[in-house]
């Protein structure tokens, strides 16, 4: 059987089991609503546009935060790849920071920026920057010395060498860094919204939960999961595969 049909079958069975359990009252409808109710909550949310506005709001923050994270991460990554002193100091600190979930910064961020969008965007930036920086560093450090030697015999050096050889040679790591930065930022965004203000998917999730609307809670969770896997599999993994092939890594 093909992967895609296996997947469809699996989800069909899962939803079937879920419907069955709800119909036979294996669990309380209040705590774990049936698929029909979840679907209805999603449908209403889309029809009255609230979920659409949430999506737009969340994506706007993600776009701002992630762009800044990618640019900042690239800059830091280049610096720590090129300077040993920077690597020994900033590089070591990045490793430590990387192991702290960025949501941990939220209390501080709320004090600094207030309970608003800026605090959430700050968390998103922190989520993506470090992993991007570390991947850029790895990419630049792992450029084949042969490429650099060959380029130098062709009169390339300094900035030209960086722009035309080192940077393009690091593209596979840049793509991986971006994919991980996206994943971390996306999680940070949801956590940040959940704990601060709206509009946004995370905020609606908490709002629904406060009002006991479990159908909407599960609906929003499904949206978050679906978006996460679509971006990861349909966009990043595809780019990663193409790049790996072109760059002769497979």
């Amino acid at each position: 059987m093909k992967t895609i049909s296996k997947r469809i079958l699996f989800f069909a069975i899962l939803i079937g089991f879920w419907s069955l359990g709800s119909a036979l009252n294996w669990w309380s409808e209040v705590l774990f609503p049936s698929p029909i109710n979840v679907f209805q909550a999603l449908f209403t949310g889309v029809k009255d546009m609230t979920l659409i506005y949430d999506l737009i709001a969340s994506f706007r923050r993600l776009a701002i935060g992630l762009s800044i994270a990618l640019i900042l991460g690239t800059a830091i990554g280049v610096i720590i790849a090129k300077s040993k002193t920077a690597d020994d100091t900033i590089g070591a600190m990045l490793l430590a920071l990387q192991s702290v979930p960025s949501i941990v910064w939220l209390p501080l961020a709320i004090m600094w920026f207030g309970l608003n969008e800026k605090a959430v965007i700050f968390i998103v930036i922190l989520g993506g920057t470090f992993v991007m920086a570390l991947n850029i560093r790895t990419g630049i450090k792992n450029v084949q010395p042969l490429f650099i030697r060959a380029a130098r015999t062709m009169g390339s050096n300094g900035l030209d060498l960086f722009r035309r050889v080192i940077f393009p040679a690091s593209v596979p790591h840049i793509v991986t860094g971006s994919r991980l930065a996206w994943a971390f930022s996306w999680r940070a965004l949801m956590a940040g919204e959940l704990l601060s203000t709206g509009p946004g998917l995370g905020y609606t999730l908490r709002y629904a939960s406060d009002f006991g609307d479990m159908s909407l809670v599960i609906g929003v969770m499904i949206i978050i999961g679906v978006i996460g896997s679509i971006v990861d599999q349909l966009i990043f993994q595809r780019i990663e595969k193409n790049v790996a092939k072109r760059w002769g890594l497979v």
Partner: protein, 256 residues
């Protein structure tokens, strides 16, 4: 003299922090248009020597001069072909060949030049392929075109056909000989194959190992094309073998 190498020495620190002499008092010179092979067992410092001529590695002492200019840095007057093609995988074949001349020529001229050299190595049809889409022998021909497109006066080749199968290698020998005849480049060609060196070059410089020194410098006077003079080639081969034998024994005794 076109190329003069004078009392070149190169020392490296081993991982155990001991100084090891890789090249010792290497001196030789080359006329313009000469095809010189440097032959020696592996590890004798051939790549190091070529790298110093290219300006990629500094010497410990001694000098390299090309047309009277002291070599310190790499430059486009010296094209280099490595054992591995070293093509940039993110560029197409023609973009790779354009790489060294991109800055000094208009897009159109650069394209024309690159196409000319791709024609010379008979790869025009593959201009828009990516390196991973063509065979190892073709990749090495692209690398040769990429070195020639800068119009260097000196072409440095470090065992360029070492990783290829016998048949491909023979075909590339013929092509290289034609290119050399047509472009009149001075070529320094590194190899550890006696046959290859006799087949291609005007002169064979035989190196010994530990430290790397020049054992002898043999002029090859066999008329070209040399396939027609098999006996003379075989005679020379055994003559060079005598020089190399003791060196190879030295390497073997060291390894066992």
């Amino acid at each position: 003299m076109f190329l003069t190498i004078d009392k070149l020495n190169k020392q490296f620190y081993t991982p155990e922090k001991q100084l090891s002499t890789v090249l010792k008092d290497i001196s030789f010179s080359a006329d313009e248009g000469e095809f010189i092979s440097i032959l020696g067992p592996s590890g004798c410092g051939k790549s190091t020597l070529l790298s110093i001529i290219a300006g990629l590695t500094p010497s410990t002492s001694g000098t390299v001069e090309v047309q009277g200019n002291r070599i310190i840095h790499p430059g486009k007057d010296r094209g280099m072909v490595f054992q591995e093609p070293a093509l940039f995988p993110w560029l197409t074949v023609i973009e790779n060949v354009i790489f060294p001349i991109k800055k000094e020529h208009s897009k159109k001229t650069a394209n024309e030049l690159a196409n000319n050299y791709l024609k010379m190595v008979q790869l025009s049809k593959y201009a828009h392929h990516y390196p991973h889409e063509i065979s190892g022998g073709m990749q090495q021909r692209v690398a040769i075109a990429r070195a020639l497109v800068m119009n260097p006066s000196l072409l440095l080749m470090d065992e360029p056909f070492g990783a290829l199968d016998e048949q491909t290698r023979s075909r590339l020998h013929v092509q290289l000989e034609h290119i050399w005849r047509d472009t009149k480049k001075t070529i320094i060609f590194i190899t550890h194959s006696i046959t290859e060196s006799i087949k291609l070059s005007d002169r064979v410089i035989v190196m010994g190992t530990q430290p790397g020194v020049i054992l002898t410098d043999i002029k090859i006077d066999i008329p070209r094309p040399r396939e027609k003079h098999k006996e003379q080639m075989i005679k020379l081969e055994s003559q060079i073998m005598v020089h190399l034998k003791s060196e190879i024994d030295k390497v073997i005794s060291e390894e066992t």
